[in-house]
Amino acid sequence: MSIQLKVPSVGESVTEVTLSKWLVADGDYVEIDQSICEFESDKATLEFPAEKAGRISFKVEEGSDLKIGDVIAELDTDAKAPAKKAVEKEVVSATKETAKTGSKEGSEEQKTNIEKRSSTNDTYAKNHPSPAAQKLAAENHVPLAKINGSGKDGRITKADVLQAVKDGVSASGAVEMMKRNSREEKAEKVSKLRKTIARRLVSVKNETAMLTTFNEADMSAIMELRTKYKVAFEKKHGVGLGFMSFFVRAVSNALEEFPAVNAYWNEDQVIYHDYVDISIAVSTPRGLVVPVLRNAESMSMAGIELGIKELAAKGREGTLGLEEMEGGTFTITNGGVFGSLMSTPIINAPQSAILGMHKIQERPVAMNGQVVIRPMMYLALSYDHRIIDGKESVSFLVRVKEQLENPQQLLFGKDPVDILLDM
């Protein structure tokens, strides 16, 4: 029997996808649930699994724009699996090679099999280092993933690591050869994701009354607290105590005090939320993604750190689901990790405000008539002036600053002594 593989519905409001990449070759035998291609929508990239096992024949080309329900391939479910289930993943180059060499002796299938077995591309042993190679790589901070193993089945030999060290391969990336006087240009198709980002950013700029207010926070109290509790916290909770939990906590408390900052503009209504879902901007190899930490207002510090760690890991692996990126009532973005000292972030519509964190830098500041050196961070809050008044936005940012500088306030959102004295 032959079945048609169609573009699945990938989420509400997504009507069009691009088939960005085939993950198998035309004519391959695919297993059930094996990923056969990658779809890119304006929200995310996702892999598409085969619903049945069988021989695949492509109906569209890589890079095609498709509607939901379009047929991308046919699957012949009567086709026999190759005699010996391929140990390795299907390898495009290997199968092509076989087709070329033809088959004078033995059946095509057998030949394919042999080709696959001897292919050096992706067996379980790929990039497995020899003991000496492993030691050398660890000592020179060469990530094994960046080495192309020359040994059998892609194993990494000592010579491979020696060469990598010589070539200056490091965790931060292969050293790029300097190109001089090159005047080449390169055209690259804009991805669906990029197009959507572009459209949204421009519409926010055009359709909201966005402006940015600044403040700065003395980070010494939080840094002290982290140094003191870092080890014990990690031991107890299995996750490091980062800066994000402090910011999420401070923001959640402040948002409850200033609900407009946590609201949506919707035509002739303002929608207030009695929960805080914080979108957190995470940089991934595929671009910026903004997964959502739900009910942040009810989370413990460890809960926040664990939640962020999980979302960030999923972001890096590209396994974030659409539902994990939808919603969100407020966004935090941290340009500081790239070294930004100050910025005016753009609101993540339909939200009405976004907080920008920046680099912590020691600066001379005046305190009680003295110039002292303190670890300082500039804070930026971009907001939609249609919903939020200047007083509210500025007060919101001041509340965040106060909590960061006095971490004891993070517990209840204000000074615990005030709570005690009911003031």
């Binding site: 140990v87 379980y124 042993a125 497995h128 030691k135 660890a138 000592e139 059998k152 194993r155």
Partner: protein, 467 residues
Amino acid sequence: MNKYDVVVIGSGPGGYIAAIRCAQLGMKTAIIEKYDTLGGTCLNVGCIPSKALLDSSEHYHNAAHSFEKHGIGVSGLSVDFSAMIARKAGVVKQTTDGINFLMKKNKIDVYHGHGSFESRNTIAIAKTDGKTDKIEADKVIIATGSKPASLPFITIDKKRIITSTEALSLDKLPKSMIVLGGGVIGCELGSVYARLGTEVTIVEYMDNLIPTMDADLGKDLQRSLKKMGMKMQLSTKVTAVKATTKQVTLTAENKKGESIEMKADYCLVSVGRKPYTDKLGLDNVGIELNERGQIPVNEKLETKVAGIYAIGDVIQGAMLAHKAEEEGVFVAETMAGQHPHVNYLLIPGVVYTWPEVASVGYTEAQLKEKGTAYKTGKFPFMASGRARASMDTDGFVKVLADAGTDEILGVHMIGPRAADMIAEAVVAMEYRASAEDIGRMSHAHPTYTEAFKDACLAASENRALNI
């Protein structure tokens, strides 16, 4: 007070190797040994002397039992037991002298005496003449090893109720011997005496010999040892061992719950070994032992006190000389800022009986527990031309490979020279070879190693060529 970058306490295979590696890496190194000779248990009262006696007894056994079939007539064959023990002592002396030479060559200072921590950086050495030396150490490696363990109701008198140490230096060949514990040491020393004509009975609590290894190995070893004349009492719980000046009486409860009694000239207690940390002064540096008497260490083999490391039998893991050696090198290189690695899965286990037993990687029981789908390939030495030529046809090689990827996950062998052959399996597994990989490598003919190749072919696609 002499000052050192590193002081190693204990000169067994873990300690002396660690000291040499430290010296090679440019550290000023001292080693402390409480006995007169270097080398620890392994060289003095363990691996080396037991192999010396195993070889002597094997020659005798072959002369008495196999030569005739080879067409060699022997008359007047006899055992000069004290000559055997003397040769063994000679081998030990040669080997321990070798360590002295290595220490000199690497400019390592040797202190004889009982080393103990006076403080984090000061090590006291109590010498046999009653005097105490003190040396200062920047870093310390504890490599004090282990001692034979016993059972709570047994008093080891070292005359009739003995440990492996005494069993290596008996003055007379015993007529009968009870070996309490069918682990590696019991099977090896039991073999020595059984081959020389002693009536040997192994009493074991579990239902199999060498119970920590793959179950098939113990069963096959049992068959071979019984063929040689050894007796077995498995699933037997010993309740008492009593000694008179002339003999020992052991009472036990057998599988059916009946009480049994055995008498013999000697009872060798080989129920395992325990970490040795007596009078080491661990209290003075705040190191506490775990419930098994071991020194707890982190993944860098460093104790809770920074700069104090521990290796070998005194920490967790298999009590094997080669495990201690790997750890010795690991710690020395770690101290020097390098990033070495010890692959504990691939430390082979070996029993020097005949046939020899050797294994590496996961056992079938472990794979089942992990839920890993695996394939099995087994090749009996009976089908090996080389084994038939030498009349060593007992045993087999068993290869366990991943059902999906064909990667070799465990190799278990019993047969001629298995102890040497296991090295190939270690190399294969360290490089994550598939069973088919080995099946596609040329193995010289006729050799015992062909059995490994054929077992791999059997595991890979059930296509062994010689059976």
